[in-house]
């Protein structure tokens, strides 16, 4: 039997953007029916590699082979025709159209002159869905599906245009544990049918679980392609960052500390019920649970944005009722939202303005005008203190990496000198090294300034590492409380899934 030809092979690829080398002499190939993990920190060249494999950008040096045939100039259309597809993080679906139409929308380009035969389209959609064993109504409007189901529609769309390789870009970052397992089931099913996958993720556990081989990129260089058997999570982190990253708990036991926040039997219909806990000075309290478990809703209530139907909130022993988040901020509560890009930052505005937006009142002169020099001075100190990597205080936030953007959001709240800080999944979508620096920031704030931190997360190892106590939330209720020493990652995960 002849050896299987790779679906795609990139040979000695080099790509520069201006003076910056994005990829240097990279070798990368994917065999049919293979799940190929691709890992690397932000800026390591993963997305450039994907863009080259799909013809979106052209390499300066190197060759591209598709099924053994040399392609002199790969265009997006050619890549599509040859069966190389990407499922982007945002899925690129049409939320207002049906499942069937999303699967076959690409056909409108070539069948420009024929009528749309709905029955035919729906029948063929059922066939494709059937190949995956997905039970979805082809007539359902895509915008009404859960994110996980929408993702399956995007995968079906690739299959419907006879994909041979499907590149999944961070497919699990918005999925619950169960949805991830379901997705993996579908990947295995399609793999058995000979379809290859490139699986790009920051979640190394998942990369190791689903991949046959893993390629590690660091600073645009291929560090190596390893069979799964040779890898552990620690080794993978080391290969990505070039430094050891511990999984040991980073927190010391908290001495008897003063209570700063207590909530009693908080309930908000349809969101969460009977939530009680306390938070102490200098404590990091983990709140972990799947998406939709009510964790963010509880946080927003404490931040004054969603009034509870019943229950009480006490700050330093005194009951408070917040009518808005302005009340909460006045009482020393800070909230770093889940999606910093959507809710937290004005991306085109300078770093300095983004940092100081919470304390504008303090930067105003006697006549009510803003002091530009004072603003810059405060911002520069924050940039230094919190180790934000920014070219200048007046550079737009957009020019910063994800991890550094997150630090900008954090630092603006710290400037308000809060007593309580709510961090809502602060490491979502940032790379390993940036995660570490966010942990260090949180730990430093708790230890040195005595801030009580409510740390919302969906990664078990993370709460085990940085929290003094961990609350597990499921279907709107707090179901367990642990100390990190009392529970393993596995046990915690089982408790979360329920």
């Amino acid at each position: 039997m002849p050896e299987k030809l790779p679906v795609i092979r990139l040979a000695h690829i080099t790509k520069r953007y201006g003076g910056v080398v994005a990829l240097r002499d990279v070798e990368f190939s994917v065999l049919p029916g293979e799940v190929h993990g691709l890992v690397g920190e932000n800026g390591s060249g993963k997305s450039t590699l994907v863009k080259i494999a799909t013809g979106v950008v052209q390499p300066e040096e190197g060759e591209i082979f598709i099924e053994g045939q040399k392609i002199s100039r790969l265009t997006p259309y050619l890549a599509f025709k040859r069966g190389i597809h990407v499922v982007h993080q945002d899925l690129s679906l049409f939320p207002n159209l049906s499942v069937a139409e999303n699967i076959f929308a690409h056909e409108y380009i070539e069948r420009n002159r024929s009528f749309v035969v709905w029955q035919d389209m729906e029948r063929r959609a059922l066939e494709v869905l059937g190949r995956l064993g997905v039970e979805l109504d082809p007539r359902e409007i895509v915008g009404r599906l859960s994110f996980a189901d929408q993702q399956l529609v995007a995968i079906c769309r690739a299959i419907a245009s006879s994909a041979k390789l499907i590149i999944l870009d961070e497919p699990t970052s918005s999925l619950t544990f169960r949805e991830v397992q379901r997705l993996f089931g579908f990947i295995r099913e399609l793999k058995a049918q000979g379809i290859a996958f490139v699986f790009i993720s920051h979640r190394l556990d998942e990369v190791l679980e689903i991949s046959d081989v893993v390629t590690v990129l660091r600073d645009g260089v291929n560090i190596g392609t390893f069979p799964k058997g040779e890898l552990t999570k620690a080794r993978l982190s080391f290969l990505m960052t070039g430094r050891e990253i511990t999984t040991e708990s980073l927190v010391a036991d908290l001495p008897e500390a003063r209570e700063i926040l207590r909530v009693e039997r908080l309930t908000r219909r349809g969101e969460y019920a009977d939530v009680s806990f306390t938070l102490h000075q200098g404590e990091i309290l983990g709140l972990i649970g799947p998406r939709g478990s009510g964790r963010t809703e509880v946080a927003l209530t404490i931040f004054g944005l969603r009034p509870p139907d019943s229950g009480k909130i006490f700050l330093e022993g005194k009951e408070v009722v917040f009518r808005s988040n302005r009340d909460a901020i006045r009482h020393g509560i800070g909230y770093v939202p889940e999606n910093r890009l959507l809710q937290g930052l004005v991306l085109d505005q300078p770093v300095a303005d983004n940092i100081t937006v919470t304390i504008l009142g303090e930067l105003v002169s006697r006549f009510g005008f803003l002091h530009p020099s004072r603003k810059i001075a405060v911002a520069e100190r924050a940039i230094r203190d919190f180790g934000i990597k920014a070219p200048a205080a007046d550079a737009p936030v957009r020019s910063l990496s994800g991890g550094n953007q997150q630090k900008v959001v954090l630092s603006r709240w710290i400037l308000t000198a809060p007593k309580i800080l709510i961090l809502d999944t602060p490491t979502h979508g940032v790379d390993v090294a940036a995660k570490e620096s966010i942990y260090e920031m949180a730990l430093g704030l708790a230890r040195e300034r005595g801030i009580g931190i409510l740390f919302i997360s969906d990664e078990e190892h993370e709460v085990l590492k940085v929290c003094h106590r961990i609350l597990v939330m499921r279907e709107g209720r707090i179901v367990r409380e642990y100390r990190p020493s009392e529970v393993t990652e596995e046990a915690l995960r089982r408790e979360i899934v329920g």
Partner: protein
């Protein structure tokens, strides 16, 4: 039909209900409302509004917006008026052929600017509204046109169905109402069964995904702005027929009525939603309200107040509906 979109369909069912209630109320206030004569009259008088609203719907679905259509209709009908009176054009068909290409050309101009400048279409088309209308006023000096050739006058009285009232006056279903409903059917067929129609929905639903899917965005934009241009030209003809007179300032200013009808009918200013049936119902709703006000002899200023109120109400309702939709999707 099945894939019309469940949201749209529910909007339409809802509108039919509202229309029925409104009709009963109007009938109780003034029984004259429910006479066939009055209904046919309303349908005839609103065929201009109905036709351009269908064009606006198509633009809105694509995620764009056009407010210059009133100026396009005016320019198109004015040029027609000048030509047929000066050269005494006897053929109505020939007259009909004049405004259409003018509308399409001006629509293409809109599409070109929207695509190349990447400025929001509301800005582009407001500017073009002023450019088209301003130029017309400069050149025409605002002069009215009347005294059309006889065949042009007779055409306006053409009916598909003729009845005689108790007082012995002829009335019936006007040819222009038929044209309006025909356009609605054609628009529905295009949107529902032609790839270009589906691409219009897709573009309005997610423009980035449409780009990635390889759709030719300019071609879609060209189609939608030319389509409303075409319908504006046609509506300009209808308007001239209905009034038997062309005033350069008669149409400009009615943009909000048309937008209101489209939004009432389920179209969204964010794109991706709406159906021709909904827009026809939206136009009927506005037409009935206005007719009711006339039958009640309310002052013209009240018309404005009530129209403004309806727009706010429609926009609020559709925002509320979207909110519900989002909550249901999150499914806490």
């Amino acid at each position: 039909m099945a894939l019309l979109g469940r949201v749209a369909r529910s909007t339409e069912v809802y509108l039919v209900g509202v229309l029925l209630v409104l009709s009963v109320v109007l009938f109780l206030l003034n029984p004259k409302f429910a006479t066939l004569e009055n209904i046919f009259d309303v349908l005839r008088n609103n065929s201009f509004l109905g036709i351009v609203a269908l064009g606006e719907l198509v633009v809105l679905i694509s995620g764009g917006i056009d407010v210059s259509f009133t100026a396009i209709a005016t320019v198109a009908q004015y040029v027609m008026g000048v030509l047929i009176t000066r050269y005494a054009v006897e053929s109505v068909f020939l007259a009909f052929l004049i405004p259409i290409p003018i509308g399409i050309a001006l629509g293409a101009f809109n599409a070109f600017l929207v695509n190349r400048t990447r400025v929001h279409p509301v800005i582009i088309t407001i500017s073009n509204l002023n450019v088209f209308y301003g130029l017309l006023m400069v050149i025409s000096k605002g002069k009215w046109i009347y005294g059309f050739p006889a065949p042009f006058r007779d055409f306006a009285r053409l009916k598909v169905l003729t009845l005689v009232s108790e007082k012995g006056v002829d009335y019936g279903l006007s040819i222009f109402t038929v044209v309006w409903f025909l356009i609605a059917v054609v628009t529905w067929l295009i949107l529902q069964y032609l790839p270009i129609g589906r691409k219009i929905y897709a573009l309005g639903g997610n423009s980035e995904a449409a780009r990635r899917a390889g759709f030719d965005i300019f071609r879609i934009q060209l189609f939608v702005y030319c389509y409303i241009g075409f319908l504006s030209g046609l509506a300009g003809f209808v308007h001239a027929e209905l009034n038997q007179m062309i005033q350069p300032n008669a149409i400009v200013g009615r943009e909000l009525d048309v937008l209101a009808a489209a939004i009432l009918g389920g179209a969204s200013v964010f794109g991706g939603a709406g159906s021709p049936l909904g827009v026809v119902l939206g136009v009927l709703f506005i037409a009935f309200v206005k007719n009711g006000l006339i039958l009640m002899k309310a002052s013209a200023y009240w018309h404005q107040v009530i129209m403004g109120f309806i727009i706010v109400l429609a926009a609020t309702l559709s925002a509320y509906q979207q909110n519900l939709e989002r909550k249901r999707r999150k499914g806490v």
